[in-house]
Subunit: 486 residues, 2 copies
């Protein structure tokens, strides 16, 4: 046998980083991360750069020659320090109280590193069985830790899967709900304008985005009023459902929220769930932030009625100590998901899939490819244990209670809503303008970072606790800074 004149023309020496080179650079990068975490308080929390400032400091064109030397990581990290860090808003800073904190923790990063290092694809069970089976087991653990219904376990007709975000989880819920409501017709015939979706005025914007993306159309989205506690009004929901049915429309989905983004209000899930069951409507629960509260028995009443939901999600990357991306999504009806999303071309056929004895997670979300994300959740659960995870949640709740006490003791301020979790919504009594100015002054100074919302129209500051490094001393200092800025 001869291969004739074919040669490897054009092939130069391998330009790849060797395992030994990676070992050296990897240690350097780990040291940088440890130093960054240890020293994060020296940076202003909120980046103070202007638009275009960071981009302008990067080369206009990509390099022709590679930087393949022993100094590679040193040079990368020098640029990270000099060019990138001024443009970073430090989400891991203990004085980060904006949005909801999105912690990265040591055990999570270790799991994430292993996921990157293994570099496996979990699109099918067959493409790396452990990637699927560890995820299934860890998600069953999460259902147990959160006291979620048996119908969400892999041993039932449901199961759990890691999505990238609560936004993507909402999209999947919309698609599954349409599939079930249409008896499987939507995937062939399209959304066709006859399905309706229900949220409240306080529901996260991702649901409207999902409704738009899924071709339902925002005209079919019913945005239900809230009560004085900012909870969906179930009387109004019942009216809207009845009106739509009378008009010949098909109510497909209600999204209830446990812990709204604006104020952490909790919708009356049990009543909503009963309405959904009576009307054969898919109920999705967005507990992106407050799901973690269900770790603690004393906070679990926030989840009353959750067994009536067809799907549920909470973010590992919000209050659950796991770095982005890690949305923990459960459904009690995996057949609806798979029915809506599965397409099986020849090049993905395999014996395991055809045996029907395995889960192929590619059919549970939009992406085909998927990394081994359960490693980081596994690592977090092992490091903390249930007791450690609960301690973190309790710390957030207690610090919020402490902060609220500080606010209440100063007559210039008012607490705007209940604060059963780790967010406190507060404001200066009086005009919005003073509050806007206060927020702007605080964030420009860089000692802490807060964001705002509007509650019943009033401009309100949000103090969201959750960064692992935040202690009582940080909260005390933050309050002193706020008081001094008035």
């Amino acid at each position: 046998m001869s291969v004739g004149v074919r040669t490897l023309k054009g092939v130069t020496d391998s330009p790849h980083m060797t395992p030994e080179e990676f070992r050296a650079h990897g240690h350097t990068v780990v040291d940088w991360i440890a130093d960054y975490w240890a020293g994060v308080e020296k940076y202003p929390v909120l980046s103070q750069v202007s638009p275009g400032e960071i981009a302008a400091r990067l080369p206009a064109h990509p390099p022709e020659q590679g930087e393949r030397s022993a100094d590679f990581s040193k040079n990368m990290l020098a640029d990270l320090d000099e060019i990138v860090l001024p443009g970073i808003t430090h989400w891991q800073h203990p004085q980060f109280y904006a949005y909801f904190p999105a912690p990265t923790t040591g055990p999570s990063v270790l799991g994430d590193m292993l996921s990157a290092g293994l570099g496996v694809q979990g699109m099918l069970w067959a493409t790396s069985p452990a990637c699927t089976e560890v995820e299934t087991r860890v998600m069953d653990w999460m259902a147990e830790l959160l006291g979620l219904p048996a119908a969400y376990r892999s041993t039932s007709a449901g199961g759990g899967v890691i999505q990238d975000s609560a936004s993507s989880a909402a999209l999947v819920a919309v698609v599954a709900a349409l599939h079930r409501a249409s008896g499987g017709q939507v995937r062939e015939r399209g959304a066709n304008g006859r399905f309706t979706v229900y949220t409240s005025t306080e529901t996260h914007s991702s649901v409207e985005k999902a409704v738009n993306m899924a071709g339902v159309g925002s005209a079919q989205l019913r945005v239900i009023e809230v009560d004085d506690k900012l909870r969906m009004r179930t009387d109004k929901l019942a009216e809207a459902i009845a009106a739509d049915k009378a008009a010949g429309l098909t109510p497909a989905l209600v999204v209830a929220t446990i812990g709204t983004t604006s104020t952490t209000a909790v919708d009356p899930v049990r009543v909503i769930g009963e309405l959904c069951q009576a009307n054969n409507i898919w109920l999705h629960i967005d507990a992106a932030y407050a799901g973690a509260a269900a770790l603690c028995p004393e906070l679990r009443d926030s989840h009353d009625g959750v067994e009536l939901a067809d799907s549920y999600c909470t973010d590992g990357h919000k209050w659950l100590l796991t770095n982005f991306d890690c949305d923990i999504f459960f459904t009690s009806d995996r057949a609806a998901l798979i029915g809506a999303l599965s397409v099986l071309p020849e090049y993905l056929r395999n014996t395991a899939t055809e045996s029907d004895a395995v889960i192929d997670y590619r059919d549970w979300h939009a992406p085909l490819g998927r990394r081994f994300r359960s490693l980081k959740l596994w690592s977090v659960i092992r490091w903390y244990g249930a007791e450690g995870m609960r301690a973190h949640v309790r710390s957030g709740v207690a610090l919020a209670e402490y902060f609220a006490g500080l606010v209440e003791a100063d007559d210039r301020f008012e607490i705007v809503t209940d604060h059963q979790f780790s967010l406190v919504c507060f404001r200066l009594r009086g005009e919005d303008a003073a509050n806007e100015e206060l927020l702007s002054t605080l964030n420009a100074a860089g000692e802490l970072y807060l964001t705002h919302t509007r509650v019943r129209g009033a401009y309100t500051l949000r103090f969201a606790i959750g960064a692992p490094q935040t202690t009582r001393a940080h909260v005390t200092a933050a309050w002193a800074t706020i008081q001094a800025a008035v």
Copy 2:
């Protein structure tokens, strides 16, 4: 001022991993990854476990107590070795020729680690300006490296963004196309059954999935025949468009492929693009695998006509040396994307967004949250440089040519299609059954891993080269194994 009786009841000592603990565990994990890469050839490429085998070796319940000790990483890694690795199909093994290889490389993992360590959210420019600006700059670099049109640069009406996968990119393309075709009506009124989408019989299944998810419905998907080279037939495409228009439907989107998943066929993009322009149809190009070929001038004719496309994507995590997830997506019409996807609630409002001087990438895809993914692409580009990235692509093409020569020299086999990139489709002459048996025998033995497709109905083996560690010696050995298994 007094805070009264409020105390931090229920708060135990901090259960978090300290930076110094992370430093030690991080080094251990880096060493494990380096050792894994150096020794990956000792494992069977394809995992040989049965369904349920891995899950059964994990504890049934989550731990109550955490494992917060100096042995944490040692214990995690022991379980990884003993429990997880038997269930891993080793995508980084040099004898992995299945699907398209999805490499993880040293510089990419370093960038990924930094992304995890910084733990910033790039949903808005304001939430970490560098996360947005580095991505914008690096995507401009990628457009330059791939010779893509100026309309894809951030300085035009278009721009680039990292999506998680080509599947999600397809979904975004469908949604943007519907938005433009409907004059912005779809997001309000829904997809409503009057829009049509065009692919070929060889287009990736993700497009059908996206069409279903976006509420278009697969009945509105026109699957166009291919020619003898498995390229979309433009005469049939023109006929289908004309027929739909005559029927009062609105052709919204054509998806053309550069490098199909099955055989790496290249659709006639220029003719398709001209048809799209004449009919005001969005053209999306899926170059998930073969986009990398455009790095090399001598392979760039595969991209002829790409300037006629409204959107384009290629996967950093396929032939571009970057670990998942990193789909490189460009559009020449970012207004359509943003128009379709943007929803701005009060809690996301900020001065920078309102100034219109910044990019908020949350409006470019389904998820709101997003990690700092451009760090890994930046790191890859710096390590390899343009010349190093080209060398990797050329190595794949040359090895495929070498492998094809080996196949051609053995009369029992035939090459089934052209092999202009790094995939060779081949089969034993004769019956499908013999080919199915050959594949099954090879994969069970564990020395290499191949997958299959069907070409014009015939069961065909795919030999996809792309793992960074694959050398000519590996290909020689693989061919000897294949010959011996017949």
